[in-house]
Amino acid sequence: MLGNLAGVLFDGLAYGSLMFVISVGLSVTMGLMNFVNLAHGAFAMVGGYTCAVLMNRMGVPFLVTLPIAFVVSAVVGTLLERTLYQRLYRASALDQVLFSIGLVFMSIAIATWWFGPTQQPVRLPDFLRGQVRVLGVDLGIYRLFLIAVVVALTAALGWLLERTRFGAQIRAAVDNQRAAEGLGIDVNRVFGFTFALGSGLAGVGGALGIDVLGLDPVFPLKYMVYFLLVVAVGGAGSIKGSLIAAMILGVFDVAGKYYVPEVGAFAIYALMVLLLIPFPSGLYGRTR
């Protein structure tokens, strides 16, 4: 029972890590630009399909596909941001929701048209499969790998935001856009880079997640609420909040499916609504 619990906790943390990678970009763009972007999962899907196509049709090794997935998603994100998203930064939440739902529908249709409606199979490299036994608990190697990737990415993001000039500009723009502009920061450019970074991270997450979440055209819709949930519970704009929310979500979801399968995803939705009652702007959200 105890070993079981440790196993569930471990799987939950791995799942949460994946959610964090995908959602952190959404959190920053929501915090930075106040943009309610329901189509964030579409960028993860772009990364996922990039990975699947490269591996299955061209035989590119899995680890090599990850940076390519990052670049492809970032490029797609940048294109959309510069052409469409940018015009809606000052629009109402309703407009943004409608616009991004439209993007979700289009992405589903395009993915179905291009790759067919079925799940994309991906064979992980051998060294990432199987399990290791640590202190009497079987740990999936791929899940350990996921957690390691997320630790590395979080450290890199933390360094980027806390230690670099660009990070300081992002933080300034999140805190007070006007003052940041007044100090000569090109907020528009910061927005663009941040969006690209967020889409790229989502792409990596989508590629990493094929084995755990699956990959089919309805991916952006199926997991939309999970990504939003991480942001809404963690608080938009807060990386620490997203990390904690993703972990809570991951552990609860895995534990719920393991111990009370008859309740299903209900537990997660209930948890979200219950958490939003005392914390309307998220655990680490700033009250505006």
């Binding site: 929501m30 309610v36 469409l84 015009r87 809606l88 629009a91 109402s92 939440a93 309703l94 407009d95 929701v97 409608l98 616009f99 739902i101 439209g102 993007l103 979700v104 529908f105 289009m106 992405s107 589903i108 249709a109 395009i110 179905t112 048209w113 819709l221 609420v225 939003l228 949930l229 809404a232 938009a236 008859e262 309740v263 299903g264 995803a265 209900f266 939705y269 209930a270 979200m272 609504v273 939003l276 009652i277 309307p280 702007s281 505006r288």
Partner: protein, 340 residues
């Protein structure tokens, strides 16, 4: 309304009275409106083969109206309005399955259950900003969907609730396959609800809702209790959505899980925005255009339909805020401007 109560805040009440008067002037039925309803009724005879689709449009139109009330008039964004629609549908459906198939009382029961649920959740919906509201409504919708999915002993789960038997309407008219009774019944319910809503949005309460939408910080300064207004309007809207759901259950004699699904919540939002929010008629026009197009295009290929509807949304947001009716109003205004 006692005179003494109003005398306490004379300037505010005077302003309110004049505002109410300007609102009430709209209350007279215009010829275009009468023509609209006559056409909706005549459509049944003009396209006898499409009565089933027609009653679906009337029902979804009623659902869109309920969303227009909170979104278009009170400015509350919702991504989970299907929760109330589905609740009404399952209430009426379950009543009919378990031996009470009388349509009108079933309709009222569906509306009442949805209304009660709407009242209870309204307190957690209306607080917070737009993002929180979106998430909470989305979460409530998904919760109900999962609950109905898992409680298959009661709802039939993914197979849907079958065995719904609706009794004769008023004890006289049987719901047949041609759909004549279903169409007329849906039409009558929609019309009655519309008249009620029309009165409501032109009443002082409706005007103060619009005030709330335009300036949420000013209304409290005028002495309006924002929370109470929002709870009230949300409750009414949930009730109307429940009636629409019950109507669907009774006329199709089936309740599927998709009555609660996210797609329904999203689509009704799309229909409303397509027609134009805050106009009541926008909800009806948008629903009709959307569903006729869907019937035509999705028949060719559902995937392409999804693509076009996505593109349509992007285009509406980018270029055509106000939807179809907003566009017509602009056109009319421009024509009048040039004529002068």
């Amino acid at each position: 309304m006692s005179a003494t109560g109003k005398a306490a805040a004379l300037p505010a009440s005077a302003a309110r009275a004049s505002a109410a008067r300007s609102g009430l002037a709209e209350e007279r039925w215009r010829p275009a409106e009468i023509a609209f309803w006559a056409l909706a009724l005549l459509a049944m005879f003009a396209f006898p083969g499409y009565r089933v689709l027609g009653s679906q449009i009337l029902i979804t139109g009623l659902f869109a109206l309920s969303l227009d009330l909170i979104l278009g008039y009170a400015g509350i964004v919702s991504l989970g309005h299907a929760a109330f629609f589905g609740l009404g549908a399952y209430t009426a459906g379950l009543l009919a399955v378990h031996g009470w198939g009388e349509p009108i009382t079933g309709l009222l029961a569906g509306g009442a259950v949805a209304m009660l649920f709407g009242f209870l959740v309204s307190f957690i919906v209306v607080r917070g900003n737009d993002l929180t509201r979106l998430m909470v409504t989305l979460g409530i919708g998904l919760m109900l969907y999962e609950a109905a999915n898992k409680a298959s002993f009661l709802t039939g789960g993914v197979d849907g609730l079958s065995g719904v038997v609706t009794w004769k309407l008023l004890g006289m008219f049987e719901f047949g396959l041609v759909g004549t009774v279903a169409y007329l019944y849906s039409f009558a319910v929609l019309f009655v609800c519309f008249v009620v809503l029309r009165r409501l949005v032109h009443s002082p309460f409706g005007l103060s809702l619009r005030g709330l939408r335009e300036g949420p910080w000013r209304m409290p300064a005028l002495g309006a209790s924002v929370l109470r207004m929002q709870v009230k309007v949300f409750t009414i809207s949930a009730g109307i959505a429940g009636i629409a759901g019950a109507l669907l259950a009774q006329t199709t004699q089936f309740v599927g899980l998709e009555a609660l699904g996210f797609t329904r919540s999203a689509e009704v939002l799309i229909m409303l925005v397509l027609g134009g929010t805050g106009r009541l008629y926008g909800a009806l026009v948008g629903t009709a255009v959307f569903m006729i197009a869907q019937d035509y295009l999705a028949g060719i290929d559902p995937v392409y339909w999804q693509f076009w509807i996505g593109l349509l949304l992007v285009v509406i947001v980018m270029f055509a805020r106000g939807g179809i009716l907003g566009g017509i109003e602009m056109l009319v205004a421009r024509l009048r401007g040039t004529r002068r």
